[in-house]
Amino acid sequence: MPKKPITFVLNGAERAAFADPGQNLLDFLRRGVGDLTPKYGCGQGGCGACTVLLDGEPVLACLTLAEAVEGRRVDTVAGLGGPAPHPLQEAFMAHFAAQCGYCTPGMLMSAKALLDRNPRPTREEVIEAISGNLCRCTGYEPIIAAILSAAASGARP
């Protein structure tokens, strides 16, 4: 089966790369495009480590076909922040919300999707937003605190 050219917008810049038929978005981003920020955890939608935004909505890259992003916008942690870290990244650091750090990219993208549509979420809404993201180290509490703190700071680049 021939490879298929995919043109899409990754973190604000147009990109084009070839995808294998049936290749999932996570594999396409990591190996085809070279963006290593989405992480491979379980490969079947159980852990949320590969969460990226597709037209602003959080999706599990491992369960999304690469071909589905043709002409669409994909955002990953690689596009968060500029010269300075994104307010969410600052808050994650300030609240010690990462230990091993493997879940962090997915957590950040789930949190960004939440704050983009709901800038002042309640604790329950934060919990709901990250309920598809597993973390082994932190006990979640620092992550929840970081997201609430980023929301309270109001900064939104």
Partner: protein
């Protein structure tokens, strides 16, 4: 059918490190020509903060800013030997080795500075900000960088240090059975409140109150985070995580995160933590290790709370709904120990 509340308590006495054939860790410290220091280890930082704590310990001992210390870990080809990051031993064993290595390096640093300043090295002190000066005479000063460069390019001197910390093998006394496998204990106590549903067998942890005695909390935020995340893992071990049962056979065992269950962010219980600091005499700057003992007391506390709530003793972990329902059936229903 009802929800029953119960409280359970547990306390643990946690030995820091292991002692199978002796428990050593080594460290090497050397200065670079820019006056910054590298600590070389084979010890692994797997997210618990080994690099941060070792960096603090090295900076404190060398007398230089923490920013001027780089910790290079986890290459057993290039680093000195370490038993590993387990048994809560990292801070205690590796920290002590780093102190010894840094002391040796510091002594040579001061000798190099003394030669430049034409004074006795015993009269020199560091200010922790990258300067060395004569005690009581701050004007007689040289930067750590200048001293390191003098050692490197003029004196031909290596500013380096070796460190090892060893808890030797402790044999069992054949007469008394006595042995001293470890030198340092951390302590924890925990009170857990649970709610048990006698219809579904589900247990919800409502509240955790704990006191952890960790020696000196060398990095208080890291310690608190380890305790918080570790207690969550203890709760997970107590009530969720298992590769059993495997109906109808082992080939059906959980193989992924959709079957191997862990509590999610919606299953959290408030955890009120008290950190008690009783510096350990043989710990690096008094530190012990909060590593594993943060998870340990949760397991017995939870099963004690279940017993308090419905009167059944779960003696095999985790306390899954199935085990609780079977125990309740065998007992003929819930028998709360007391009304909360």
């Amino acid at each position: 059918m009802a929800l029953h509340r119960g409280r359970g308590f547990a306390a643990v006495n946690y030995p820091i490190g292991m002692n199978l054939g002796g428990d050593p860790s080594q460290a090497l410290v050397h200065a670079n020509p820019d006056g910054k220091f590298t600590v070389t280890l084979s010890s692994i930082d797997l997210g618990q903060g080994m690099k941060s704590v070792v960096r603090q310990i090295a900076a404190e001992t060398l007398g230089v800013p923490v920013e001027d210390v780089y910790v290079d870990t986890a290459d057993s080809d290039t680093g000195p030997h370490c038993m590993g990051s387990f048994a809560s031993r990292g801070t205690h064993r590796v920290g002590n080795a780093v102190i010894q290595a840094a002391q040796e390096a510091r002594a040579i640093l001061l000798e190099a500075a003394a030669e430049e300043l034409e004074v006795d090295a015993a009269d020199l002190v560091t200010d922790g900000e990258g300067n060395i000066h004569v005690r009581g005479t701050p004007a007689r000063t040289i930067t750590v960088m200048a001293a390191a460069q003098a050692a490197q390019f003029r004196q031909g001197r290596t500013i380096a240090g070796r460190g090892i910390f060893l808890i030797p093998l402790s044999d069992v006394d054949p007469e008394t059975g006595e042995m001293t496998p470890v030198s340092c204990f951390a302590h924890a106590a925990m009170l857990v409140e649970v709610e048990v549903d006698d219809e579904t067998g589900e247990v919800r942890v409502l509240d955790m109150k704990s006191a952890y005695e960790v020696g000196r909390a060398l990095n208080p935020k890291l310690v608190e985070q380890q305790l918080r995340g570790g207690a969550w893992m203890g709760m997970s071990h107590a009530l969720w995580e298992t590769t059993e049962p495997c109906y109808p056979d082992r080939s059906h065992r959980p193989v992924d995160f959709t079957h191997y269950l862990m509590p999610g962010p919606g299953d959290l219980a408030p955890h009120h933590i008290s950190i008690l600091e009783r510096p350990a005499p043989d710990g690096p700057y008094g530190g012990k290790g909060p590593g594993e003992m943060c998870a340990n007391p949760v397991l017995p506390a939870v099963v004690n709370a279940i017993y308090d709530a419905v009167g059944v003793r779960i003696d095999e972990l985790p306390a899954t709904p199935e085990k609780i329902l079977r125990a309740l059936k065998a007992q003929g229903g819930a028998r709360p120990k007391r009304r909360l």
